[in-house]
């Protein structure tokens, strides 16, 4: 290997023709528009069906592996580490700890939101450490949120629950109770 700088610069050239958004708007580029409309029904499966039905009753359910002793939320029918069936179902609490959070200004399509929302990973009390779920925080100003904050689930009224993760409206600070 000849070590040292050489009079070579790779890549020697690059190809491609750049387009601007206006080129589409002004039809300066030849293109075809398509609107795929594909509908899905995702079965929730053995473990998550039971979990979602638990939410409908205002309960957070977990599964436990008696080998590694993990209490797992979201629950699964098998422990992926021990690779054996989970041993039992346990109810965990509807309180937890903010492990990390974000103040989001954008929706799923990257469009700006009118009001920012607070999203968080919340580890659930009664489950193994760092066993968290993704959810939202409410009843708190964004600048008051901190990692380690204790929070409690705010449930939809029982009549409005439908067996969805959104049966929990959001999580609120525990200390304001």
């Amino acid at each position: 290997m000849a070590v040292g700088k050489k009079d070579i610069s790779a890549p020697p050239y690059v190809e491609g023709r750049e387009l601007e958004l206006e080129d589409f708007e002004e039809k300066k580029v030849t293109y075809v528009e398509d609107y795929p409309d594909i509908r899905y029904q995702f079965t929730a499966g053995q473990a998550i069906s039971k979990f979602l039905n638990g939410l409908k009753e205002g309960k957070i359910l977990a599964t436990k592996c008696n080998k590694c002793r993990r209490v797992m939320v979201p629950p699964r029918t098998f422990c992926e580490l021990c690779f054996k069936p989970a041993d039992e179902w346990v109810e965990v609490r509807d309180t937890g700890t903010v492990e990390t959070f974000s103040i989001s200004y954008i929706d799923p399509d990257a469009k700006p939101l009118d009001e920012p929302e607070i999203v968080a990973v919340i580890s659930i009390d009664g489950a193994s450490p760092k066993m968290g779920i993704l959810h939202k925080l409410g009843e708190i100003e964004p600048d008051r949120v901190y990692i380690g904050m204790k929070v409690k689930a705010v449930w939809k009224p029982e009549s409005e629950r439908e067996g969805m993760i959104t049966d929990i409206k959001y999580w609120k600070p525990l200390e304001v109770e």
Partner: protein, 399 residues
């Protein structure tokens, strides 16, 4: 040659060298189709290697979610532009990790002795999904537990970045320095989409997306393609006096239960690095690695990945960055290409600023981007899927 890697006997038939690379322009929108972009990249790689498409025995394609191009069986769709017609051809995909995974697949095609000349092509055309490719990204989320919350992909980065900052008490100012460095490095890259001289203040004052992530913390969506040619030693010796050798490869995946792990450290990257370093006989990466191209789709990610790769102790990467160690003229240059933050992020095609850049650096052909220090060994890495995959390649110019 038999080596033990991760307790598994690794039977290597022959060494693997890189003898050519190609890359297209990276832009938010390009007129060319994915096939045409792949063709440009392949043509350039063949020119550099001094080979003809008829010399290519097998072809590996890497491309990320089908939803961007809007074409299922995207690998099959891209075949002709990739030079794969009537050849053994296979598409590989591990989300954002694909840019370094595709060359890993190319490596095992040659190392196994199945092929002596293997072409690796990576392509991404993110602009087809409009008005913003984020709309396609939302389908990577768990359909039952996550999607009803209307998530944006930026969330997971914001959540990981906050956790990383919290555990090591890192300030956003220190993370922003990565964006400043990489966008400036990209000024010397002819493909670059977002090369710029910016300041830490520009990053901290840019539009909030999902705090702590702001606009200038993020790499852009891009169209682009890149290619590499990997060959057996007897072919490499015929083509060049200066091949660059693949010394080690490694990959590892964790589960999609990303909310069940502490996000401050990418264990899957560390596992992948352990495998690659073991194969490459690298025992002290901080001392033995001369140049690095870790995956930098976000500024904090470069730091996070440096720590996963063992190039810095946990929490030390921001300090090395502040002290200039990772600058192009530093002791451990990191992302001398300009990275994804500066050159662009056409997901799988980032192979062109990761593995191809390392190849050009180690063959002293990077021109104005060439790092100041003498280089013999480098590491490059990509990351992706749902916070779960690490892909690592160690290259060297010595034998």
């Amino acid at each position: 040659m038999v080596e033990r890697v991760r307790g598994i006997k690794f039977h290597k038939k022959q060494d693997v060298a890189i003898v050519g690379a190609g890359i297209t322009l990276f832009r938010r929108r390009l007129n060319e189709t994915g096939k045409e972009l792949s063709y440009y990249a392949v043509k350039q790689a063949l020119e550099e290697a001094g080979l003809d498409i008829s010399d290519i025995e097998m072809v590996v394609m890497g491309s990320a979610p089908d939803a961007f191009d809007g074409v299922h069986m995207k690998g099959e769709y891209l075949l002709d532009g990739s030079g794969g017609s009537n050849k053994p051809y296979m598409r590989f995909f591990v989300g954002g990790g694909t840019g370094v995974f595709a060359p890993i697949a190319g490596y095992w095609h040659v190392a196994s002795g199945l092929a002596d000349v293997c072409l690796v092509v990576t392509e991404e055309k993110m602009s087809s999904s409009h008005p913003h490719p984020q709309s396609a990204f939302k389908y990577i989320w768990d359909p039952i537990l996550d999607r009803p919350l209307n998530p944006n992909l930026i969330w997971i980065f914001a959540l990981e970045m906050r956790r990383y900052m919290h555990v090591h008490n890192i300030k956003h100012e220190d993370i922003a320095l990565v964006s400043v460095k990489n966008k400036a490095n990209a000024l010397d890259h002819p493909s670059a989409q977002l090369a710029a001289k910016i300041t830490v203040e520009d990053v901290l004052n840019s539009e909030p997306m999902s705090l702590p992530v702001r606009r200038l913390d993020v790499s852009p969506p891009s169209d682009g393609a890149s290619a590499l040619i990997m060959v057996a030693p007897h072919i490499a010796r015929q083509l060049t006096d200066e091949p660059v050798w693949v010394d080690g490869v490694g990959w590892a995946l964790d589960t999609t239960w990303w909310t069940n792990r502490d996000l401050y450290f990418p264990r899957y990257v560390a596992e992948a690095a352990k495998m690659a370093y073991k194969m490459a006989h690298v025992t002290d990466p901080r001392k033995e690695i001369d140049v690095a191209e870790p995956y930098d789709p976000f500024d904090y990610k470069e730091l996070h990945h440096m720590e996963g790769l063992g190039l810095a102790r946990k929490g030390e990467a921001p300090i090395l960055t502040r002290e200039g160690v990772t600058a192009r003229d530093g002791d451990l240059p990191v992302c001398p290409s300009g990275g994804l933050l500066g050159v662009g992020n056409p997901i799988a095609a980032t192979m062109g600023v990761k593995v191809a850049e390392l190849y050009w650096q180690l063959s002293y052909r990077a021109g104005k981007r060439q790092v100041a220090r003498e280089v013999t060994t480098g590491v490059t890495q990509a990351w992706g899927d749902l916070m779960q995959v690490g892909t690592v390649v160690v290259l060297s110019n010595k034998r």
